[in-house]
Structure formats: C-alpha cells, structure tokens
Amino acid sequence: MQLIRTPNIPDQDLFYAELINSQRDMSEAQADMAIAKLALILANHIGDREVLSEAIALARDNTLANAPGDNA
C-alpha cells in the first residue's frame, strides 16, 4: 500500500465545508485540539505503518519547504 496522493474524496467541496464548519463555536485552542484528534483518528483508521510514515514525512517536508516561521 502506498500513500494516495491523487484526489480521492467525492464531493470535495462539501467535505471541506463540513470540516471547517465542525470548528464553529470553538476557541482557537479547541479547534487546534480537534484537528490534532482528527489526525490521530484517521491515522488509527489507516493503520498501515508504511502509509503513515509516508504521510508524516510529506506533512513535515511540505511544511518546512514553505515560508518558514509563518504563523498562519
């Protein structure tokens, strides 16, 4: 199994709206906490250690490659 890097979510606009709407009425700290929990929930669902390592590396590399220290 390899990390899927091509579009894989049907109705992606509705998915994104659901994701940001899930943070409504949360404080910033709560919203950050919810996103962290979501990452862990999805990681558990995926389970495959190789896929998770690939995803972790992608998130890290992509972030470090972009505007270092940007706070947004």
Partner: protein, 534 residues
Amino acid sequence: MFQTYTYPEYAYRQSEEQRSGQARRHPAVVIGAGPIGLTQALDFADRGIPTVILDDNNTVSVGSRAVCYAKRPLEIWDRLGVGEEFAAKGVQWKVGKVFFRDELAYQFDLLPEAQHKMPAMINYQQYHLEERLVKACEASPLVDLRWKHKVLAIDNRDDHAVLTVQTPDGIFELEADWVVAADGANSDTRRMIGADFTGQFFQDRFLIADVVMKADFPTERWFWFDPPFHRNQSVLLHKQCDNVWRIDFQLGWDADPTEEKKPENVIPRIQAMLGPDVEFELEWVSVYQFACRRIDQFRHGRVIFVGDAAHQVSPFGARGANTGVQDCDNLGWKLKAVMDGVAPLALLDSYHEERAYAADDNIGHSTRATDFITPKSRSSLRLRNAVLELARSEPFARPLVNSGRLSTPTPYLQSSLNTPDSAAFAGTMYPGTNCADAPIRKNGQDAWLLNQLGQGFVLLSFGPAEPVTVKGVTAPVLQVGRDIEDAQGILTQRYDGQPGTVYLIRPDQHVAARWRRFDAAQVQAALSRALKLN
C-alpha cells in the same frame, strides 16, 4: 477617470395611457431593465407575450459589474437572437491560475468539451451586454421599453396587479395581469410586497476596479491568495474587452469604503500589483460587501421574482447574472402556457420549485468559495493555507482549492415535471438536465442541434415517432436521419440515441422524459405531467 465607453442616454417618452389618464391592462410588466429584465422581456416577446418594461433610469449599467457569462446563458441568448454576437465580441478564456504568496499553486483548464456552438465562458462588460439587449428590445414590436418610469407602489390583487408609476410627467397607474420583478438585489418590489429575503452576510469588503491598460498578461483568470503586493488578502485579475481588466482586491472587514475608493489609495495598490512599468488608467472603482440570500417564494400572487431580486450570491464563480438568465428561460414558457389557459397555475409554482432549488445550489457553491477565500477563524485560515501549500506538489489538494466554482446549470433532477426513466441510458443527460448541444447537418448545411429545437415542446427521435397533442399543446417530431443528420455521430453519442429512442424536450430545452421506443400514450402522460395537468 478614463472612459473606453460612452454611456447611452435613452429618451423618456410619455406613454399614451399616462397622457390620456386611462389605465390600461397589460399582459406582462417587467420592472427593471438590467440584463435579467431585458432578457425576460425578449423571451416573453419571443413567445408572443406583449411586454412593458419599466426602468427608473435611462441608461445601462454604470461600471461593468457582471463580467463572466457561461455557456448555458449564451445558449439562451442564442435562442433569443443575440448569443452569437456576445460569443463573437466577448473575450473567450479557459485557463485559470491560482497563486499562493509569490508562487503558482496550481492552474486549471476549463477543458470545454469540443463541438458545442457556444464557448464555456466569455468575459464581456455588462454595459455592452445591456446595450445590445436594449437594441433587441427596441427592435421587437412586442416590447415597450419605458425609461424614467419608477414604480412607487404595487397593489397585488387576485387576478391582476395595479402599479403606481412616477415619470417626469407625474404619477399614473397601470394594470398588469402579471408583474415580473427584475429590479436587482436591493429590489424595491420585494420590499413593497413584503417578501422575506434571508441568508448570510459576509463582513469582508472588496474593492473592484476596472482598469484600462495595454498589458500583455495572457487571457487567463488569475487569482492570488496572500500575494506579496497585498498581504493576507486575495486578489483577482481578469480580462475584458477593449483592453479593460477587472481587478478585485479583498480589503478585510475593517476597511473604510470611502477612503479605499479614492484614486490616491487605489492607484498605488494596482501599481504594486502590476509592477512599476505598467501604465494604466482607472475606468471604474467601487467597494462592496456581499451576502448570499434568497427570497422565501419566487411568486407572490401576481408578482414573480427573477434574478438578483430573487437570490443574491457572492461574485466568486460568476453565478449572479448567469443564474438569472436561467430564471427567465424557466419562467417564460410556463407563464405563456398559464396565460393561454393550457396549463394550471401549478405550473408557475414549478418555477419556484425548480429555480429556488437552483438558487440554493448556487448559494451553496458561492458560500463555500467565500468561506475558502475569507476564512472566518484562525483555524480555518490555517486549514486553507495548508491546502494551498500542499496543492503545489500534491494533486489531491488541488480540487480542494476553491477560488470560485464557475457557473454550470443546476439540473432539475427531482423536479415534479420529470417523468423518471424506465430504461437504462448511458451518458450525462437525465430527465431534468438541459439539452447538450451537438453539431448536425440540415438540408446539407452544417448546423447545431439546439437551434433546431424550436419554441415549444419537441420530440427528438432516433426512430419513428408521431406528433403528440395534449390540451392544444403539440410536441412535433424532430427525427434524426429524416429532419436532421447526425453526420459525426456526436448527437447520437451525447443522447445515447440507440435506434427507436425518443426524448420529450421542454420549451426551455430541458429533458422532460425519454424512452427506448415511441409510445403515444406514454408521451401524452409525460407531456401532461410537464404541464402539471395530472
């Protein structure tokens, strides 16, 4: 400011009924001579309904405002005789680029399907469009276009409405069997009727500028998130005709509209964006806020709402004028059938059913684009920027980038006018979708399918079929292989036109029903259903 365009001044004329003081009853009165009101009047006239248009001004839209027109409205305007000219004069484009900070995040191509008469999208200034529509209305013997006529009051009675109208010659009354309100997002008619208009307001202010320049930017839609020349906000650049470019700056929620509009504040912003060497002139500047709202009911007694008077969207995705033109397309034939007594009032309620559904779909798209462009919290801003950072290298993130999903027709898949399929069909057409165009040949000449569908219902058949009549409404047959020739096979492919297949098509070029074999009784039942007779 610089002008590439001279605004026409249309002459006010006193009407005969105001001069004589004798109120006349008109079959249809349209309030508002914007793109939607003018289109509605042309559609009514095309269907044989004499129409009076009342407008409180005497010129076209000041500033270009609406810019992008999509294929379906162009097809509707083509039915009304002006589409070819818009397509020829407008700027055609298909590539969009999205920048994040100082780099290209990704680009898209509208990839329009080939072999349609009308292009996927054109850019055309609203004043040009309105001026051409005015000319078409003036040329129509059935359209009576009255400038400097302001509606002050409406008395919405059981079987007609009485309008109190003010002109330079004073106040008079006229009567209408039906009134169509096309007087825009701030509709006075809506206020007079007391209809609810609810939805979501957005706090961010936007500066919109039309700029004249001879720049060699490509004919593409460019959208920036957080660019170096306008930090933490978004910017849009889009080309129009006559070297006019549309630039849209997001200003944030705390901007002062009066200050921002001043040339001494606008010019440096644009110069920073275009670079120091580009010479330009301002043609029009405005600051706006927007809302996504819809009227409760599209029909209130004898008054029917179309366009922005019925629904307001954010500008991302060009869904305002485009969806308004489709309102006109939906309403015209229904009102005509009710006026002629061949369909019950319930057919008009299907105008609300279908177009309120489309309005909600448009509002959903435009709200989601707005939420992406102007995130409402720090956390959603961070998610948005994560999508943009990933989009550069990760294909999966690109469809999540939303700088406006461009307008496409909302199919009426659940409409009560449809007859559901009883056989399997391949392809993208269903009962409730608008008809796909296709190249055909007629009398040995190249032609297009949509131009052959005519004014009323029609049976498009790929085999033997006979005209069907219900209560005086006849659907004639347009038979492939007999009346038109599918030389390239594209028509057959788009309609999955196996031999014997028959489509019942509505006067607004939408599929009402289809079968694998002609059966007069089934067609009759479907035609009755599409007219709300059963």
